[in-house]
Symmetry: C2
Subunit: 335 residues, 2 copies
């Protein structure tokens, strides 16, 4: 069944939800719609929220969404939960959270679990963000535990990234420190009614202050919050708005857009290339024999991969693309 | 500089460490050595240990390593720490832990942080496990936080997987529940001297009991431990040994080997395919213009990826491989 672009662009919830479902199921018509929708994206403000399990991310996201709704903005939430890879866990979570916003068509929640094997999580996130963007959501929140490699990449599609920390994480703050300067635009110390929260804030501030920032650089602020009561959320929203204005300065925006394009291209490419390679290997009845050879140590996987990759496919294509062609199929033509 | 296979196969620490370093730096001689080493792998017992940050994984791993050393077995430890993607955090951790085993050449520790962009973490882990295996390590422990997609895949190269849980995780146990049946062969409730540990154990046992197991299936046991004092580690090692014997039953072993071969092939393929595609795009000065087109919404990334992927490269190759050729380069020949 074809998709009505008009319905999706007008923000129709049912049409949007169906498109996301069909994208999950890899229905060709959905893929076609996605391609057409793409040029209507780029209007939404994308907010990444990263934090370990138990840091109170969901509550914080819900609180921010509530405030945004009060400002009259529509909100999309994409929750990446790679801890529930093969079950309905994420879907159940969706239902519970949806109830909170059940009477509000302005909030659209979609959860993603790790599915399948071939790096599909990033692509699915990109797809859903793009659909929500085309649907006209003013703000799209990407909520992630942020410790896998995919998540580290995927947050680059966000304009602004919050890192949520809770007091007394001990060793964890070391872990968070390590990857932090690549990700965090704003730190939120959640559950800051706990007595050890000042210490955590000071530690984070010291960590931030140890970096050299130029006068045009953004220095990540550290904000306290109690997501369960809503304390600090209003200040947080103000800081997010300040960072949004920072990112939307001309040179910063160009850099953001280039970075986003790169993540989109490479993550989609990663998924599709491996899919195609496996499909070709299976079609040719070569996959199982190759796996057997590897299992029996008759051949090593490195040499097999080399053979696959050495036969460069891209050269053919690139000539076509350079001449502005290349959209048709030119199988086996060589150059 | 070429590598001496003999040195590595004899377990020479310096040679092994240099090979791993050169693999990281993508030195061609290292890659060649790895291919040659592969047929000498498959002797080690591979143990996966997965748990959230703060669950006490490192202490548990160190304790298990100590016990194995007392049994006279050599141990390799690969620590995957995707929370420290771009810094020296993992390396620092290595140094601290190495001190503990400094006088013992029988323990070899190597930490991996998420590096770069293109799904390299899984391949690096596979590489290091294979080098340690070829070096003759009796047991190789893969330690991971296990919540990213890469990690969910990578634990499939382990014969036996422990999932480490701590009491009173609250929401986290929900998160752990979700992905658990794909990963856990044995549950360890660490810090089980805490008063709420019985509750956590019962919850896990109830969760396990809710599955249908056939008479030949392995039912994941739930074991208490206090890694800091060593309590429960001896029982744990006994259970690991029981599972090892289970996996090494003929039909189970065949299934394990096929699964391992599949992960190895696909994860190496994933990394190399995208690298090659990006390299080709860059060489042809096409990457930047394409990214610009995406950023400006002149073209969508989905259509661009389709063009790249549609021009199937595999067909050429597969013909060559089927005929037992295919190791030479046949650029632009078509089929």
């Amino acid at each position: 069944m074809a998709f009505s672009l008009k319905e999706i662009l007008s923000g129709d919830i049912r049409a949007g939800a169906r498109l996301m479902r069909d994208l999950d199921d890899e229905i060709p018509a959905a893929h076609l719609a996605l391609k057409k929708l793409y040029r209507h994206t780029g209007r939404a403000f994308i907010l990444g929220i990263t934090g370990a399990p138990g840091a109170g991310k969901s509550t914080l996201v819900d609180g921010i969404a509530d405030l945004l709704r009060k400002q009259g903005r529509s909100v999309g939430i994409v929750c990446i939960d790679p801890t529930s890879p093969f079950t309905g866990g994420a879907i159940l979570g969706d239902r519970i959270r949806m109830q909170k916003h059940a009477l509000d068509e302005g909030v659209f929640i979609r959860s993603l679990a790790t599915r399948g094997h071939l790096g599909g999580l990033s692509k699915s996130t990109i797809d859903i963000v793009n659909v929500m963007d085309a649907m006209g959501k003013d703000v799209i929140i990407i909520e992630t535990v942020g410790v896998g490699q995919d998540e580290v990449e995927i947050v680059k599609v966000a304009h602004t990234n919050l890192v949520v920390v809770v007091p007394g994480m001990g060793d964890d703050i070391q872990a968070i420190k390590a990857g932090i300067h690549e990700i965090a635009d704003i730190f939120v110390v959640n559950k800051s009614d706990r007595e050890d929260s000042d210490k955590t804030r000071r530690e984070l501030e010291t960590m931030v202050s140890m970096n050299d920032y130029g006068k045009d650089d953004w220095v990540p602020p550290v904000l306290p919050a109690v997501a369960t009561t809503g304390t600090g959320l209003s200040d947080l929203l103000g800081t997010i708005e300040r960072h949004r204005q920072f990112v939307f300065r001309e040179d910063n925006l160009a850099r953001y857009k280039a970075g986003k394009a790169r993540v989109e291209l490479l993550e989609i490419l990663k998924k599709k290339l491996v899919e195609k390679a496996v499909e070709d290997l299976e079609k040719s009845n070569l996959l199982e024999p190759l796996l057997e050879k590897i299992a029996n140590k008759e051949e090593d996987p490195y040499s097999i991969v080399e053979k696959v990759v050495d036969h460069s496919f891209a050269i053919h294509l690139l000539d076509g693309m350079r001449n502005g062609k290349g959209s048709g199929k030119r199988k086996g033509k060589g150059r």
